[in-house]
Symmetry: C2
Subunit: 407 residues, 2 copies
């Protein structure tokens, strides 16, 4: 098991049945790669999860269509331009990029899934694709994971690449995942994109079920500012080349081992995205326990994670517990009894019975808030559900970056 931010390829693993490439095509940036292609062998299982934003970018619409009509063989990704808010013209261009890949590789157009991330509202130029597709295809290689992780970045400060290897009843299973900037950390350059490829043999049904469940528990628990991008996409592809006994149900012992590994890689990628949040100086986990439902735990967690007052207090290293309690109270939960709620910062009890805990002191709270990573524990004491949210602070840099970005 290894995680790497470096672009050296020596520690990188090949995933059997998967080749990749990235080129500098000049979509928007100069002197860096910005179009990537991921090739999946015939018979691969490919499943996706996409933005819930009603304003869905053209490539997202096409991805969903193509996943429903044919077996995906190529993932085509560009950074620098989101092809969002571009109407029919943007849709047509995205379709043309798929056709270019299809022609160069001998597959059907609907076996190509397009992804875009970058500026909203500008038409995606077709020329960079026309000029680079043949180079992209001819240079496909199994060990270009770091290059592709870099090519999909926009204002991310570092690539996000996680790889894992584990044994399963005698077979060696490999997993490789890359991701870029989450939620609406990166405004115009919005969009979370994540691609996880494994050589495991698994049915589409199980893969789809796990993918939605695990995305919900990981990528959908990562928040910087509460905005949802128009282009968010997360793909799980399994080539089936590992030689394991086909995973065709989610209850076997093998299945549980595999699911736990996939969960791990999703979680590491999701947390890496939050850690690289724009202007982020803190990584904070909000664990809400004792809820009646997953939904109410999430509501409370996101209410705290999205409160500008909590976020500025995090940035200021100010253990301002009144802001946390007020954000809990603001979560719109039916019949919430504030007096039953307990809050702790890591191991330090903070709130009990609607007031500050008798053993709490500002010195103890300050020690926690000074740390770069810590957990805010919120126990609603009314049920058996627990959920985690990962978030960051709201810093001067967040305002600076987002206020100055387009200038």
């Amino acid at each position: 098991m290894s995680q790497s931010d470096s672009s050296s390829s020596e520690s990188m693993m090949d995933i059997r049945g998967c080749r990749l490439n990235a080129v500098a095509a000049g979509v928007r940036y100069e002197n860096r790669s910005d179009i990537a292609l991921i090739e999946l062998s015939e018979g691969s299982v490919v499943v996706g999860a996409f933005t819930q934003n009603a304003f869905c970018a053209a490539p997202v619409v096409i991805c969903k269509n193509h996943l429903g009509t044919n077996q995906a063989r190529y993932l085509l990704i560009n950074s620098g331009n989101a092809n969002a808010g571009t109407g029919q013209a943007g849709f047509d261009i995205a379709m043309e990029t798929c056709a270019l890949v299809a022609k160069a590789t001998g597959v059907e157009s609907d076996q190509v899934l397009p992804f875009s991330t970058g500026v909203i509202g500008e038409l995606l130029p077709l020329e960079p694709f026309q000029q680079s597709i043949s180079e992209l295809v001819s240079g496909l290689s199994a060990n270009f994971w770091p290059e592709v992780a870099r090519a999909i970045m926009t204002t991310d400060t570092r690539p996000k690449l996680v790889q894992k290897e584990f044994e399963l009843s005698g077979s060696v299973i490999k997993l490789s995942g890359i991701a870029k900037g989450a939620g609406m950390i990166h405004p115009n350059m919005a969009t979370m994109l994540a691609y996880i490829v494994s050589d495991i043999a698994i049915t589409e049904e199980v893969a789809q079920q796990w993918h939605l469940e695990l995305c919900e528990k990981t990528f959908n628990r990562a928040t910087v500012d509460g905005d949802t991008s128009t282009n968010d996409s997360c793909i799980l592809a399994c080539t089936g080349k590992a030689g394991n006994l086909l995973i065709d149900n989610s209850d076997s012992e093998d299945a549980l081992i595999v699911k736990a590994q996939i969960f791990e890689i999703y979680r590491e990628l999701a947390q890496a995205i939050v850690r690289d949040g724009e202007g982020a100086t803190k990584f904070v986990t909000i664990e809400v326990s004792g809820g009646n439902s997953e939904d109410e735990c999430k509501k409370v967690g996101f209410s705290v994670a999205h409160s500008p007052l909590v976020k500025t207090a995090l940035f200021a290293c100010d253990p301002n517990w009144g802001r946390i309690l007020a954000a809990v109270g603001n979560a719109d939960i039916d019949n919430l009894n504030i007096d039953a709620i307990e809050i702790a910062l890591d191991q330090v009890p903070l709130v009990e019975r609607g007031a500050v805990h008798s053993e709490y002191s500002e010195v103890l709270g300050q020690e926690i808030f000074d740390k770069p990573e810590f957990t805010i524990y919120i126990n609603l004491n009314r049920g058996g559900c627990t959920e985690e949210i990962w978030t960051t602070d709201l810093s001067h840099d967040y305002v600076r970056i987002n206020a100055e970005y387009r200038t």
Copy 2:
């Protein structure tokens, strides 16, 4: 009709049946008044609207109780300490402050309504009340509106006082309203407080109905950062001394005239609060029309108003329409057809059919965004409802003030 930010009392109107006073009692601040008392004559109709935050400060709980059990005669307000998150001890102290006023004025304790605004989580000191109540009571005067408007301020940069006078079938009706910092503009020093007093004769039933309806259309449409304080309270008191024919239904011509005047004063106060939002450099109206319901118009309006990306774009004077459209798409509206949506900045068309309007140019958008006040018009084109939200930008000063406040 006049609006004044000055503390000179010459232009201020007396409201028959209402006397006020404010003193420097040292609750937290030095050299400024911080406890105020408003006296209402016997027979006054008093109605309230309070925070929806489940974490309700002690004075809010007591206000609601007292309004339900007796006729309110005194409003006791302190700044500097919110008496929130203080458990049973905080409740007991708030009750004692009511008892002090009751004893000094000869009314029952439950005829006194307590209000607090300021730091959360510190016990409200009783001593400043013990030492100042008799001075407060003996100095009551009909023309201390500016003094009370100042006494209830926390980190507001200016007092908010609006007064109106109008004729109603031969009677002269007077209205006077004061307010302080809204939503959670003012974190620890949170809380919107507003008090509107009139000499009009009106039944409690009509006053209550109008108060809730008009608060919803004004104070509840004002947002800076989407947080709801633990102490928000808004009181309408009508002394009945104007000599008008009792307003006992909401449909008569007189009733409509009065309601429009009350609406005006609420709106002016609510907008004054947004204009004085922490770090605010812009006052932006978001008008959402063509909705199927009030609720869906509000959801869209608040989604745009609360988007950190829209707010930083407002601060940067960057007409970044992709962020506005993404925030609309993020509003969680069922079956929203993004292609039907039209967006305009003041009179400049911005978005049509999911893409930028053909007549739009960055120069036109920039002209609007450079203005200190403008309107973002969003037409959902699917129904007959229209709602307005008022908000501000997210500036460096917002982060600075909220990050540095408690230090």
